[in-house]
């Protein structure tokens, strides 16, 4: 016992190495165990906290799994109609240019029903930050095919796998918006390993910092799993994501300082 640390010792303030940010509420997360939403929420809130922006931040929750994001993020928030978060964020930022504004959206919300709002907010160079969670599926409604569903990937509305001839191609919306002159920083991240989480947090920090300089749209995609929608264990879902999602949605910066750094 002497060389192992006891529970009581762990709780001692001098032994604390990590603390939940006060910008995450104590509400129990509604996400499935293993889902990337919780981690992404946390790092986003850590960035807002570390930058001291809580009293000037307004966030937008979408429709989808993260519809209840406002239950977990301890900042002022608005809940948008499906796909319309960029319209809300546009108005807020234009009416209150000194605030920090982010929209938090899934792939169905951002890349299907909200495509027009996404493209136009990006093209106008609106000065807010988009956090885009891409798990290739409609999670909340029970695992239907999303615009980002991979070819051959099974979902409840593509039970034999997505065939592009019948169902269209998976949409690389992030590469698409990177080509618009209004986007300044566009990157694709993941949160499946501690190293990836650190990188993703850095990217979010960079996006929020750039927003303070009014340079245009800052856009962070987070490729995530949906273990319940994919019908896999959390571990297998992450492995499947690395093997299948990452080759099609490769991680890394796509546009930095307003210039493409990757062929799209």
């Amino acid at each position: 016992m002497s060389d192992t640390i006891t529970k009581e010792q762990i709780f001692k303030p001098e032994n604390i190495v990590y603390k939940k940010t006060s910008l995450m509420t104590d509400n129990v997360l509604s996400y499935c165990p293993g889902c990337g939403h919780g981690t992404t929420h946390r790092i986003l809130m850590e960035v807002i906290d570390e930058m001291g922006l809580q009293s000037d931040t307004i966030g937008i929750a979408p429709v989808g799994c993260s519809v209840l994001a406002y239950e977990f993020m301890n900042v002022d928030m608005q809940q948008a109609a499906h796909g319309r978060a960029p319209a809300l964020a546009t108005a807020i930022k234009r009416l209150l240019p000194n605030k920090t504004v982010f929209s938090y959206q899934g792939d169905g919300d951002l890349a299907a029903i909200g495509t027009a709002e996404t493209i136009h907010a990006c093209n106008r160079g609106e000065n807010f930050t988009t956090i885009f969670i891409n798990n290739g599926i409609y999670g909340m409604t029970g695992g239907q095919m999303a615009p980002t569903t991979l070819e051959g990937m099974k979902s409840s509305t593509s039970p034999y796998g997505r065939e592009w001839q019948a169902m269209g191609h998976p949409l690389k919306i992030t590469e698409l918006v990177a080509q618009l002159p209004g986007t300044y920083y566009v990157t694709r991240q993941a949160v499946h390993t501690p190293a990836a989480v650190r990188k993703a947090k850095k990217a979010i920090r960079k996006a929020i910092e750039l927003q303070q300089q009014n340079v245009g749209m800052t856009f962070v995609e987070v490729v995530s799993n949906c273990n319940s929608g994919w019908k896999m264990t959390p571990v297998n879902a992450n492995k499947w994501m690395v093997d299948n999602m990452f080759p099609f949605y490769p991680l890394g910066d796509i546009k930095v300082d307003g210039k493409l750094v990757k062929e799209v």
Binding site: A80, A81, R94, H120
Partner: protein, 354 residues
């Protein structure tokens, strides 16, 4: 000034913070006037041409949720597109103005005046149980005056207000008395006046959340009951109408907006012919002047509703008029405007001879 221009000038002077819109005939002059006037220099007001009516109405949601005075304007097909967003605004209890310059429909219809949006605006319109305050100007002066009034009502009750007009009033030129410039509220003033606004969570309060979602059905029902209570209060306090020559009238025309102006002329022609015609003009279409219609209906031989539609408001008039007073409808559709003589003829044929 044109009706559309008067409305645009009025919102600047009412201290509006933002206009978000998409061009559609017959009201594009609103955004054109605003862009030309540069209110962002005059008062700091934001004017943005959005990519669609769907984006516009959701921009209103974002701005209104920050306690800002925001508005949009559109015409019938654009209003149809906005209905989901309007339902969200009503559910989340957000104040704003939506101006509808109605045109003939259905579908793309015509660009000429119509009044066939009565159902879609006075009965809710989008999904769920809600009502909107609907106010119908009948002159360019009222286009001006109702802008400020609509903001007042919108913030008093935390609800969207519809200014329901049509291409005729929007395009018509009349003399207008213009009021003083009201200052826009500062962020501190908004925080003070509207503590629900999402302007950033400060240490002295919990975070503000603007949402229409509640997955617990009992809580959602409580929210609905709260909304219904508010709508009842609006019905009790905010009915507006005008009566002309109704005291001695045998026949009363019930009409609003452009139809009311034409009907007023019809009333004059009829009176010259010895027909005792009166005009009852609902100014608020919701809340509808129910009691007042009932009172008026007790003493007349017949009521004619005149609408530029197949007859929509007539349902509310019939619901409220006493049983033994006949209520009939006369209307033109598809952008055709009824003439005063047609209306007099209908009264003669329906009530006098009939």
């Amino acid at each position: 000034m044109k009706g559309n221009e008067a409305f645009a000038e009025a919102v600047i002077r009412a201290g509006a913070d933002g206009y978000f819109g998409y061009p559609i005939t017959p009201q594009s002059e609103v955004m054109e006037y605003l862009m030309a006037e540069k209110p962002y220099e005059r008062t700091g007001m934001v004017v943005l041409q959005a990519e669609s009516e769907i984006a516009s109405i959701n921009m209103l949601y974002g701005g209104a949720a920050c306690g800002k005075k925001v508005l949009t304007s559109s015409s019938s097909p654009g209003i149809s597109l906005m209905q989901e967003g309007i339902s969200y605004l009503a559910g989340s209890e957000l104040p704003c103005i939506i101006m509808d310059a109605m045109r003939g429909g259905p579908g793309l219809g015509t660009i000429q005046p119509g009044q066939a949006d009565y159902f879609q605006l006075t009965k809710g319109g989008g999904h769920g149980d809600y009502n909107l305050i609907v106010i119908a100007p009948a002159s360019v002066q009222e286009m001006y005056d109702f802008a400020d009034l609509s903001f007042e009502l919108a913030f008093k009750y935390r609800t969207p207000v519809i200014v329901m007009t049509d291409g005729a009033i929007g395009q018509m030129m009349e003399k207008v008395y213009i009021g003083d410039q009201k200052p826009r509220l500062t962020e501190e003033e908004i925080r003070e006046k509207y503590p629900w606004a999402t302007l950033g969570k400060t240490p002295d309060r919990e975070r503000n959340i603007i949402t229409s979602l509640d997955l617990d059905p009992y809580r959602q029902e409580r929210h609905n009951l709260k909304l219904q209570k508010k709508f009842k209060e609006i019905e009790e306090n905010e009915v507006r109408y005008e009566e002309i020559n109704c005291e001695d009238a045998d026949y009363v025309i019930v009409a609003y907006g452009t139809s009311a102006r034409i009907s007023q002329k019809a009333m004059d022609i009829g009176r010259e012919k010895g027909l005792k015609i009166g005009l009852f003009r609902p100014i608020t279409l919701w809340p509808f002047p129910k009691k007042e219609i009932r009172e008026m209906s007790k003493n007349v031989k017949g009521i004619l509703t005149v609408e530029m539609s197949a007859g929509q408001m007539i349902e509310d008039v019939r619901l409220n008029a006493v049983e033994n007073t006949p209520v009939e409808h006369y209307g033109r559709m598809g952008g055709v405007i009824p003439t005063p003589n047609e209306i007099v003829e209908v009264i003669e044929n329906t009530f006098v001879k009939g």
